[in-house]
């Protein structure tokens, strides 16, 4: 049995497989399929200060080997999170990572301060990259704002601080460094690529917001490239995300330089995708007689 345990800063993951924000709810809905405590970690849907209704319908467009979403960070806000969702999350025996979104630096700081109080929140993932919210986008696409936000949150949040990067930038390495400089403990990438779908028959954009976030296997080559570039630019751990459908995809991200991965859109197509990604990595290690998954990280 090869070792699957990896570390992301102070976080000990029993295996390198987490689920990506916005594709796993708050973990509960997958309980029917498997014991989600088997995962290395669960990243929740974004939590913001106030409740958000998100965007208008339609919010989804299927694309070739991918999908666009324009959910727009719909969530019930931090109060509801604390009183309703958090008690449920406490029943899950693995790392709970809360994805945090905000309109302003103050919003982010407020939510992170509250989350800092919660024992069973093991880390936060700052979503500075969601392309659906105008303000959120700005933080992730300029180095000074990314640094400033990270510094502000770092002051109030004392556990593992992961910052999730937007791929919609000229240089992912520069943003990665900016966030490291701000005091992040780890990076996760990529969030969705900004894309668009058009219904030729109706001569309208498919999404109510015209543009939305592209995810799925279509973006895997871009994600691998960015993980490769970012992990070479910083010395903090990088979590790889983007189009991972199985264990082999996950191994590719580890080889590119990721210390762990997140499975996103795949959860929709195969509810057992994250679980099977763990066994897929294990099979790979056995097949190649590698004793420790850490040996794969960055080993191109």
């Amino acid at each position: 049995m090869p070792n699957l345990e990896v570390n992301i800063h102070n976080l000990i993951l029993k295996n390198p497989v987490m689920t990506a924000s916005g594709t796993f709810g708050y973990g509960q809905d997958f309980g029917d399929f498997y014991d989600v405590s088997k995962l290395g970690g669960i990243v929740t849907k974004a939590v913001s200060k106030e409740p958000r209704q998100g965007n208008f319908y339609p919010r989804m467009a299927e694309t070739t080997s991918g999908m666009l979403n324009a959910v727009g960070l719909q969530n019930k806000g931090i109060d509801n999170f604390e009183s309703v969702i958090y008690p449920e999350l406490k029943k899950i025996n693995t790392n709970i990572i809360i994805n945090v979104a905000g309109h302003t630096v103050e919003d982010y700081v407020y939510v992170c301060e509250r989350l800092n109080q919660l024992d069973h929140v093991h880390a936060i993932e700052l979503n500075i990259s969601c392309p659906n919210v105008k303000d959120g986008m700005a933080f992730g696409t300029s180095c000074p704002s990314a640094t400033a936000l990270t510094i502000a949150v770092r002051k109030v949040y004392h556990k593992t601080l992961i910052v999730k990067l937007s791929p919609n930038v000229t240089s992912i390495a520069e943003i990665a460094k900016a966030v490291e400089d701000g005091g992040a403990d780890a990076l996760s990438l990529i969030n969705t690529l900004l894309g668009m779908a058009i219904d030729a028959e109706k001569r309208k954009t498919v999404l109510s917001t015209a543009m939305g976030g592209l995810s799925g296997p279509a973006i895997k080559p871009v994600a691998l490239r960015m993980v490769y570039q970012a992990s070479r630019a910083v010395s903090i751990p990088v979590i790889g995300i983007g189009g991972i459908m199985n264990g082999i995809d996950a191994v590719e991200f580890l080889l590119a330089g990721a210390s762990a991965v997140q499975v996103g859109t795949a959860n929709f197509i195969n509810p057992n995708a994250a679980l099977e990604t763990i066994t897929g990595i294990e099979d790979y290690l056995n097949r190649h007689s590698i004793n420790d998954v850490n040996e794969l990280i960055g080993m191109l």
């Binding site: 809905d29 849907k45 998100g54 919010r59 719909q74 929709f268 509810p271």
Partner: protein, 271 residues
């Protein structure tokens, strides 16, 4: 007429969902646009309530990436079979309807909240492929000793399918816009929908949105209850992606988990 024995219960609430492979045992083309697909499961199929749906994954197709949602048309707990009525509208439905007997299709089900039991006599109004959830509903109402009539409508006679199966359960009438079958005109012009309040205490409807909205307006005017089964673009089908929302009096709710069946009273913009 094989009742699904488990349908004696009146409560219609989401069960634990499962995912497994099914084998296609019959692909019956009803007409050029509609197919009845019968799948067999090697494990016991879960209890399914009328109005609930499933997410099907077409094997290895370049044309579709996501699963596709389909209402459960019929389920047989003895034979472990599950049936769908599929109308070909795009790549996914085409591919599904082209499958040969023996093909393996993965399913996630049962999903969503189905119809609720009516108290007095009810009217089922199904338009086109919107009849799909109505067959289980008819069975269930019958099993629970409820009275109901069935009104099926379509643009042409090709949209009226499986009439014989339905008529085993209740009094049935038909409308087509071209008048080739049943009464000519929109389904909403049928006499049963003239003053439904005098006969029925509830309408169940599924079909094109414009039709459901017209039916809803009639129900409101007649001050009777009305349940609609909505569609939406779905990525997951089980409440995690938040892609399938509809505006309700409780804010944006997911059609896949809070629906697909809604009472029109709870929907915004449906009055």
């Amino acid at each position: 007429m094989n009742y699904p024995v488990k349908h004696l219960k009146m409560k219609n609430l989401p069960m634990a969902k499962v995912t497994h492979d099914l084998q296609l045992i019959e692909n019956r083309q009803l007409n050029p646009a509609y197919h009845l697909l019968i799948f067999k499961s090697s494990v016991a199929i879960p209890e399914v309530f009328p109005g609930q749906f499933a997410e099907l994954l077409t094997p290895d197709s370049a044309a579709t990436f996501l699963r596709r949602p389909f209402s459960i048309y019929n389920a047989d707990y003895q034979l472990n079979t599950i049936q769908f009525i599929v109308k070909i509208v795009g790549n996914g439905t085409k591919k599904l309807c082209q499958l040969s007997t023996g093909a393996i299709v993965n399913i996630i089900y049962p999903l969503g909240k189905g119809f609720s039991i009516s108290e007095g006599k009810s009217l089922i109004v199904g338009g086109g492929v919107g009849i799909a959830p109505m067959y289980l509903l008819s069975k269930w109402l019958t099993t629970n000793n409820r009275e109901f009539d069935i009104l099926l409508g379509g643009r042409t006679e090709a949209d009226i399918i499986n009439v014989k199966e339905f008529s085993e359960y209740g009094e049935l009438d038909i409308t087509t816009e071209n008048g080739k079958l049943g009464q000519k005109g929109l389904i909403t012009t049928h006499p049963w929908l003239k003053d439904p309040g005098s006969v029925y205490s509830r309408i169940y409807t599924c079909g094109p949105e414009a039709m459901m909205r017209a039916v809803a307006r009639i129900a409101i005017a007649s001050q009777i209850s009305c349940e609609v089964s909505l569609e939406n673009t779905m990525a997951c089908g089980f409440g995690v992606c938040l892609c399938c929302v509809v505006a309700t009096d409780k804010g944006n709710l997911c059609v896949c988990t809070d629906g697909p069946v809604f009472n029109i009273n709870n929907l915004k913009g449906w009055d």
